[in-house]
């Protein structure tokens, strides 16, 4: 009966499945991600030219990018940009804002507490948890090195 084993079938699947279009995706990620970061830098320059001190201009630029990302997510534009940009829209701070805004919009239908409130961190939650955990580990290492 079993003419095709699970192993040989998995080989067949690998052969039949087209790979991701890296030749297009990687340059697009570079361009889109680069454009977002350039925009961030332009914002920093802009805020500084308005007389904002440097240490405030940096977070102000981040906040502006987060706002724009959330706005474009709500306007159904960010996901279309991401289809082209891939990692270029995922890696900058805008990707993180999108990962919070998208579930917030989607799960509003289950109410503001258990829907929006709880599901908002569906995608970004693990990033926050392990980001903080990694920060703690790094802090401990740094503390130990400074002891000696």
């Amino acid at each position: 009966m079993e003419t095709v084993t699970n192993q040989s079938y998995n080989q067949m699947v690998k052969k039949a499945s087209p790979p991701s279009k890296s030749a297009r995706n990687i340059p697009m990620a570079f361009l889109v991600g680069g454009a977002i970061c350039t925009l961030g830098h332009a914002l920093i320059k802009f805020y500084m030219s308005m007389g904002v001190p440097e240490e405030t201009a940096f977070p102000a630029a981040s906040i502006t990018l987060v706002f724009l990302s959330a706005l474009f997510t709500g306007l159904n534009i960010y996901d279309k940009l991401a289809k082209w940009g891939g990692a270029g829209t995922l890696v900058p701070i805008t990707g993180f804002a999108n990962a919070i805004t998208a579930p917030a919009l989607e799960f509003k239908s289950e109410g503001y507490i258990m829907g929006l409130g709880a599901k908002m961190f569906l995608i970004a939650g693990p990033v926050i948890v392990y980001g903080i955990a990694a920060g703690v580990v790094y802090g401990v290492i740094l503390y130990l090195f400074q002891l000696y």
Binding site: V4, N25, D79, L90, N98, I123
Partner: protein, 346 residues
């Protein structure tokens, strides 16, 4: 009465008829190659409802209503209802059809539900247990995405092997032998697990089940691809279709010239951005009810196999690292009924 042929196939000697069908689609489906054949198209993805789940329920309600209108039937004329969808606890069916007051069987066969519901319906008619029953299924891109994948607005790239869940519903009325298409035989599929874990490659998870069910039908009935105008799978899409052709070729059946897949009929892959093709209960149901059933009725298709395939995982089983088992159910649909008394298959 029905006759068991071979180990897995049941010949329905009375050849129940599909006396009516209706298909509902969304905007993307309407823009596809068979978009004009849908009975109702809703350009509003919410179908005027508050949530995607209610939108899918509304789609089922419309499908049921439309097929009854087309056949001049009221809910009181239909004795049983076989329905299912992709949502947890099949709520699209439960909420969409609750007002009909028809005795109800809820089914879950993932994307194979259209074939599953048709098989059970035809068995009920064949057995003389009812005069008229309805089979209905649906899927909605937005409700499926949020349950199985990511929120809609989340920015991500889809894998080239991923499939697009159809926003569509299909409903059929099955009754005693009266007009084509006739359901001549059915083969109920077994759950098949080939160790596939990739949620973005459903076609690969379902192709082995389709291959086994089709092979069993051929063996039981001593037929082959040459006996049919069309072998139509539910939603294997491009990757699954290629794999099915290769698997059956290894068994000695060359189906390439006869095979088509609903996931490749419903959308134009070149322009509609659906990656490998369409999927979902509504994919097989929508194509069957809008395009295929009228074609058999008009005699354009004489004998065909309808093989809807399902991937039987849940988001939880996938997160727990489990395989994705598949299933495929088969119906032999024909423009002519089985010969009265002992008749073979075409």
């Amino acid at each position: 009465m029905s006759t068991n042929i071979g180990k897995y196939t049941l010949r329905l000697d009375k050849s129940p008829s599909i006396t009516g069908s209706a298909a509902i689609g969304g905007k993307k489906e309407a823009e596809g190659p068979i978009g004009k054949m849908f009975d109702i198209v809703n350009y509003d993805a919410l179908f005027g409802q508050k949530s995607w789940e209610l939108a899918e329920s509304e789609m089922q309600r419309q499908a049921a209503q439309k097929v009854m209108d087309k056949c001049s039937l009221s809910p009181g004329d239909i004795q049983y209802l076989f329905a299912g969808d992709l949502l947890n606890q099949i709520v699209a069916s439960h909420y969409g059809l609750r007002e009909l007051g028809i005795p109800f069987f809820g089914l879950y066969g993932a994307c194979s539900t259209m074939a599953e519901s048709l098989i059970l319906s035809s068995m009920m008619i064949e057995g003389g247990l009812a005069k008229k029953v309805m089979a209905i299924t649906s899927s909605h891109f937005c409700s499926a995405e949020r349950q199985f994948r990511f929120p809609l607005e989340y920015g991500g790239q889809r894998a080239p092997t991923a499939q697009w869940t159809a926003t569509a519903a299909g409903a059929c009325i099955i009754a005693e032998n009266s007009q084509p298409p006739y359901i001549k035989a059915v083969t109920v599929g077994c759950i098949e697990d080939k160790d596939i874990k990739d949620l973005n490659n459903m076609g690969a998870a379902m192709a082995p089940a389709a291959s086994t069910t089709i092979k069993r039908y051929f063996q039981d009935t001593l037929t082959g691809p040459d006996n049919f105008d069309l072998i139509l799978t539910g939603d294997l899409a491009q990757v699954g279709s290629d794999l099915l052709a290769e698997l059956l070729l290894r068994e000695g059946y060359d189906i390439k010239k006869k095979h088509a897949d609903c996931g490749l009929i419903l959308y134009d892959r070149a322009t509609q951005d659906v990656e490998a093709g369409g999927s979902g209960c509504g994919c097989a149901a929508g194509v069957l009810c809008s395009y295929i059933i009228p074609a058999i009725r008009e005699g354009k298709i004489k004998d065909m196999l309808f093989v809807a395939t399902g991937a039987l995982m849940s988001p939880i089983s996938v997160q727990q690292g489990q395989n994705i088992p598949g299933i495929a159910h088969l119906l032999h649909l024909s423009s002519t009924p089985n010969p009265i008394q002992q008749g073979g298959n075409a």
